[in-house]
Amino acid sequence: MAELTNASDRRRLVALLSPAYLWLLVAVFLPLSAMLFFSFLTDLPQDTPDWGFTLGNYARFLSNPTYGTLLWKSVTLGLTVTLACILIGYPCALVLARTIKGRARETLFLLVILPFWSNSLVRIFSWAIVLRGNGVLERFLELFVPFDLRLNLMFTTTAVVIGLVHSYLPYVILTSYLALQAIDDDIIEAARSMGASRLTILRRLLLPLSMPGLMAGAVLVFVPVVGSFMEPRILGGRVGTYYGTVIEDQFVAVYNWPLGAALSFILLAVVLLILALASPILRKANT
């Protein structure tokens, strides 16, 4: 790598880097700062000339318990979905990384990852078709049970959880698989030759060694789920009111942008706190 020795190198460096980072500045970092500023305003400057500063938007969050309750509901949803993704996804990553070899593994891995890169809205919509009352799922399950099924899963919290697990499961599988695959086979062989059982190998070797990958996956699931609003709207119906849907409402229905900005910023603070707590683990996962 070249050290910056002369002025022309430095000019080239700035010329190469500044377009991308100026773009990120204008489109991401300035907006996030502007949101913090707006969250302390009474009105939008473009709407009324006599706007002022206030702590009222944050006070509303504290004085009206609904917001706190909904934030907690979203955090709980995040924890539920994350736990489900770990319990379903980690064994899957284990199978992919440790028992399947060669081309079959590559193909299966690609198959698991592919839906994750496809349109998330459309995938949630497909669950709406599957779960709707008297729909495909009930017909399918009736093949196995002798009586008429009335599951009525659509517009329930379960439906929201199913849809979100479907959306984010590949994250956990991806990060766990990468961590598990990097474990040296010789270590496992050594443990086995010294008489360690499968359970001991899993508990004492595989799980601790792949923990950074698993945790990275968990964070990558938890953060977007806490901020989700489209999935609860489509699959949750009446019970689908979460912190994210309240923020959405402030911007597209109620038009109280300063309050929306304050609520968004509180969510951002929660997310940043979680990322900060997880960053030592995430850094380990990176190396």
């Binding site: 790598m1 070249a2 050290e3 910056l4 190198d9 080239r12 460096l13 190469l16 880097l17 377009p19 991308a20 990120l24 204008v26 489109a27 991401v28 907006p31 996030l32 502007a34 949101m35 707006f38 939008l44 400057p45 899957c92 199978v95 992919l96 028992t99 399947i100 070899k101 690609l110 198959l111 592919l114 839906p115 496809s118 349109n119 998330s120 809205l121 459309v122 995938r123 919509f125 669950w127 078709i129 599957v130 709707r132 495909v136 479907h166 499961l169 590949p170 806490v226 489209m230 489509i234 994210g244 923020i247 959405e248 911007f251 597209v252 942008w257 929306g260 968004s264 997310v271 990322l275």
Partner: protein, 261 residues
């Protein structure tokens, strides 16, 4: 290798997960070809919904807009991202680590927060809502993916090749054009495909930034679903998911095997 009971159970688990991941998508595709508008069984084949979709001007206009936005996003994000990757790879400087860390907020912060923040700021500086605002947002979301993909490809690049070219008298522009760029081109193509997919599939940011009645395909589908959905939406959704999976299939192939061919 002996296959134990446990290994068999593992394979069954994997198969169940693949079923869970693909079954709803296949059901949706099947229902787009089913005659009943209320998704009633038994299945009766029809292409009626695809014909209706093709005649629906709103859907076609949104589809064209989505593809155009994705193309513009791809060109801008790939160009800016490749330049930044080359700079991050070639030079050592103070603050490089910080610049790399700054790539994560657009990926890691929930899009709801980024999208609403963009909406507020773009109104504040006068861009407002609409297609230009959507493109500005999409490029920002796609940039980190391009930079990460191209940088990953660059990391397998032997810097000695550049030195060799330089010692043979090539100036640094020629080195970049004739040595570095050809090597990283599979990474650039993969990064471009990622950028296209990020833009084409993006819903949240487009939702907050697009003008009502002038929206992208995912935003239009969301509005339609909330009004009570029709099999036409099934048909266009099936086309979208086939397209986006196809693009991602190509991108992962390119990113991984590009160099060996």
């Amino acid at each position: 290798m002996k296959t134990s009971l446990l290994a068999h159970a593992g394979r069954v688990w994997l198969a169940l997960i693949l079923f869970f991941l693909y079954a709803p998508i296949l059901v949706m595709a099947a229902m787009s070809l089913n005659a009943s508008p209320f998704y009633q069984l038994p299945f009766k084949f029809t292409t009626e919904w695809y014909e209706e979709m093709a005649g629906n001007e709103q859907i076609i206009a949104a589809a064209i807009r989505s593809v155009l936005i994705a193309c513009v996003t791809t060109v801008i994000a790939t160009a800016l991202g490749t330049c930044a990757s080359v700079a991050l790879f070639r030079y050592d400087f103070k603050g490089k680590r910080l610049l790399q860390v700054l790539l994560f907020p657009p990926i890691a912060i929930p899009w709801l927060i980024t999208g609403t923040a963009m909406l507020i700021f773009f109104f504040f500086i006068g861009i407002g809502r609409g297609t230009p605002a959507v493109i500005v947002g999409h490029v920002a979301l796609a940039l980190p993916y391009v930079i990460v993909t191209v940088t990953a490809r660059l990391s397998s690049f032997d810097i000695a090749l550049e030195e060799a070219a330089r010692s043979l008298g090539a100036d640094s522009w020629t080195v970049l054009r004739r040595v570095t760029l050809p090597w990283i081109s599979p990474g650039i193509v993969a990064g471009g495909l990622f950028a296209f997919a990020v833009s084409f599939d993006q819903f949240v940011v487009s939702y907050f930034l697009s003008e009502p009645g002038d929206s992208t395909l995912p935003v239009m589908i969301y509005t339609a679903i909330r009004k009570g959905f029709t099999p036409e939406i099934n048909a266009i959704s099936t086309i979208i998911i086939t397209l986006s999976m196809g693009i991602m299939f190509l991108a992962t192939r390119k990113a991984k095997f590009g160099g060996e061919h």
